[in-house]
């Protein structure tokens, strides 16, 4: 619907059906004026997107997990060159041990790649975020990852409101590149930059990312105006008013989180939840504003930094550094383990009762029997 002009992709579970469907759309002509490149690796997929974008074509790819890491060098390169490529990440664990199921280790490993990262809470939002992603990317000249939980969202069968093509065309205007390889006006892109200017180039990237916070919010606002549906944006709060204890998540756990909050409210626990849609750039003000009234925050994420702990939790704690808010860090749903409502409820109840100490990473769903059988105490 967003009329990409070049799709270059390498199949990997759980992304395969996305690129299969795109291949069909190009072959049948339903997706017109689009070239589909069946590349030999993810590294080539992102590299081809770089070439296509540099000659002024709207470029798209999709990947996950090992594929995302295999293309990592080109992922950093795309943002360094300021090319507005859009990539779907069908979030999947990273091996070893090899595992094809969902968690966020892949996208989090590329946290610092200079890409905008948007996380979809459900299938409808995944659809809507793709429309918004092309607009955000091309307006900021930054690449965007649309992260959707592998299998949980990529293979969910849900009713989705697909906008009309005319509406999409009005919302996603034709790509006007901010830099272009043009034989009539030759430019050099990707020159060797030494210590005398490298810092300034990186500074400009940071500045552009800061600006992108406003763009992400603005495009979500425009989307609501155009389609009458609230989708995307920076963060989304649920029952945050008077909430003592707030559960912070990103991705598809948002659904379970809102249900748990409702249950806890019925039990008289003043709980709320905050879903992070935009993780990079980090929406510091929006997070701070949303959580400023809370006494306790628990961050539950599907990845962690081995040897350190919570990834998103560090950012949340940093946003709240001068406020009297306790931040508890938890990880769950790794490698496709379902995040059960009962586990989430127990986690939030524990935090609300000040039973979980801060300063360490809590595992939501450890199988202690399995560990014991492996001789681990």
């Amino acid at each position: 619907m967003c009329r990409p002009q070049v799709v270059a992709a390498y199949p990997i579970s759980p992304q395969t059906h996305i690129v299969e469907a795109l291949s069909d759309l190009v072959r049948t002509g339903e997706l017109a004026q689009c070239e589909y490149l069946t590349v030999e690796s993810e590294f080539a997929a992102m590299s081809a997107c770089i070439g296509a974008s540099a000659v002024g074509a709207r470029a798209y790819t999709a990947s996950a997990s090992q594929g995302l890491l295999f293309m990592a060098e080109a992922v950093f390169n795309a943002s360094g060159l300021g090319l507005p490529i859009v990539m779907t990440v069908a979030n999947r664990a990273i091996g070893a041990p090899i595992n094809i199921w969902n968690d966020h280790s892949d996208a989090m490993a590329l946290r610092d790649a200079g890409w905008i990262q948007l996380y979809a809470a459900d299938v409808q939002e995944a659809t809507d975020l793709h429309l918004q992603a092309f607009v955000v990317a091309e307006r900021t000249s930054l690449p965007v990852m649309v992260c959707m939980d592998g299998f949980v969202l990529t293979h969910a069968v849900e009713e989705v409101d697909l906008p009309e093509q005319e509406q999409v065309d009005a919302f996603v205007p034709p790509f006007v590149p901010q830099q272009l390889l043009d034989p009539d006006d030759p430019v050099t892109i990707g020159a060797m930059v030494g210590p005398e200017a490298f810092t300034e180039v990186r500074y400009l990237m940071q500045q552009r990312m800061d600006t992108a916070i406003g763009t992400v919010a603005e495009v979500a606002h425009d989307f609501r105006e155009a389609f009458g549906r609230s989708s995307g944006g920076l963060v989304r709060g649920y029952r945050l008013e008077d909430a003592d204890t707030v559960l912070v998540t990103l991705g598809s756990v948002a659904g379970a989180a809102t249900e748990v909050v409702d249950e806890l409210r019925e039990q008289g626990i003043a709980a709320g939840t905050l879903t992070l849609t935009c993780f990079r750039p980090w929406p510091d003000e929006a997070v701070r504003e949303a959580l400023a009234g809370a006494r306790r925050v628990v961050v539950l994420e599907r990845a962690f930094s081995v040897g350190r702990g919570s990834i998103v939790g560090q950012d949340v704690r940093d946003s709240l550094h001068d406020l009297p808010v306790t931040v508890v860090e938890a990880v769950g749903g790794l490698g496709g383990r379902p995040v059960r409502r009962s586990d989430v409820r127990r986690l939030v109840e524990g935090v609300a009762a000040d039973l979980l100490p801060t300063g360490r990473l809590h595992f939501l769903d450890l199988d202690h029997a399995l560990l014991a059988s492996a001789g681990v105490r």
């Binding site: 002009q5 070049v6 270059a8 004026q33 689009c34 070239e35 490149l37 069946t38 590349v39 030999e40 690796s41 590294f43 080539a44 997929a45 590299s47 081809a48 997107c49 770089i50 070439g51 296509a52 974008s53 540099a54 000659v55 002024g56 074509a57 470029a59 060098e73 080109a74 390169n77 060159l81 390889l181 043009d182 034989p183 030759p186 430019v187 050099t188 892109i189 990707g190 020159a191 060797m192 930059v193 030494g194 200017a197």
Partner: protein, 335 residues
């Protein structure tokens, strides 16, 4: 003798490329007043750099063939480093450098992006031997296999010269590099199986494959021009001596390229769709010694006691090339 020199001046097809006394249509691209100067002067290549010379002739010929409508993708390497020290650039053509190992895929993406927009702009990808036969090889093979509309040019100086002369998959046997020193029983680069990128390109049966050197620049221009007459994946492998990496005199760059072909070590040929369509016969065959002795990277073969056994193995490789490609069949002299 004087008359011979005058004849050579007017002769088309000598090694001379800069003949400005010919009619415009008979001139080399480089001798033509409207040449592009695709990579213009002021860059920071070493004295006697074969790659700078090769890139200039290749791109000017390609731009001419494309009627000025051309974009380029460049791999990381000497060519990228010496031509674009920010804020300077030597490139007078649209030029993109992305990474070391992805130039063929970037070029494929450019070709796809241009086709999707209905533009007839041509695409040239270029890399050194490291970016072509080693780290970029997967992307290159993918580009060949899909027959993407790209001319890919390898400037082969037989090693990782940009990072300080380490061995690459294109480094010839017995050559000394920073990672194949002369210590040990077999000094220099081991005698492996070799890796002929042009022959591997031919195995993909792509429309056009050719080898060339900076010794015969007219031939190099002609091959670029012929490559540009084709669409689909095309591959040009250009031998570009590196005075620094080969420990040779900068004034010997062109001589070394010529001796590489006249010894049979670097055969010149063209192929279409997997079949050899032409070879450049050796005019005055020379023993490999003539080529090797000019280069410090082979000095360990010629000291006392020297390694005549290894020189013989290199000669055998050259002989094999001569037999395989029929390099003496059109009347070349025997040494």
């Amino acid at each position: 003798m004087t008359s011979t020199r005058e004849t050579r001046l007017y002769q088309v097809g000598t090694f001379a490329a800069g003949n400005r006394l010919l009619d415009l249509e008979d001139r080399s691209v480089q001798a033509h007043p409207d040449r592009t100067n695709a990579i213009t002067s002021g860059h920071r290549a070493c004295r006697g750099c074969g790659e700078a010379l090769g890139a200039r002739f290749v791109l000017d010929a390609a731009v001419r063939a494309a009627g000025g409508d051309l974009v380029t993708a460049n791999a990381t390497g000497c060519l990228e480093v010496f031509s674009t020290p920010y804020p300077e650039s030597s490139w007078q053509v649209p030029w993109l450098h992305s990474l070391f190992g992805n130039a063929p895929a970037v070029a494929s993406g450019m070709a796809a992006g241009l086709r999707a927009q209905g533009r007839a702009t041509r695409v040239v990808g270029q890399a050194g031997d490291g970016g072509t036969v080693d780290i970029g090889f997967g992307c290159l093979s993918g580009m060949f296999e899909r027959n993407d509309d790209v001319l890919f040019v390898c400037y082969d100086n037989q090693g990782y010269m940009n990072t300080g002369v380490q061995r690459s998959g294109a480094t010839p046997p017995a050559a000394r590099t920073a990672t194949t020193s002369t210590a040990g029983d077999v000094p220099g680069n081991p005698f492996g199986q070799g890796k002929s990128a042009p022959l591997i390109a031919m195995a993909h049966e792509i429309p056009y494959v050719a080898t060339a050197t900076v010794a015969d620049l007219r031939d190099l221009e002609d091959k670029v021009t012929r490559a540009m007459e084709h669409h689909g994946a095309r591959y040009l492998h250009v031998l570009v001596p590196c005075p620094l990496g080969w420990a040779a005199d900068p004034s010997d760059t062109v001589r070394l390229a010529r001796l590489a072909t006249e010894s049979g070590l670097f055969p010149l040929f063209e192929a279409e769709h997997g079949e050899v369509t032409g070879v450049t016969p050796i005019r005055h065959r020379v023993p490999v010694d003539d080529y090797l002795r000019l280069q410090g990277r082979y000095a360990h073969l010629f000291g006392e006691p020297g390694r005549p056994d290894l020189v013989a193995r290199l000669q055998a490789g050259a002989d094999r090339n001569i037999a395989r490609f029929g390099l003496l069949e059109e009347g070349g002299d025997r040494p």
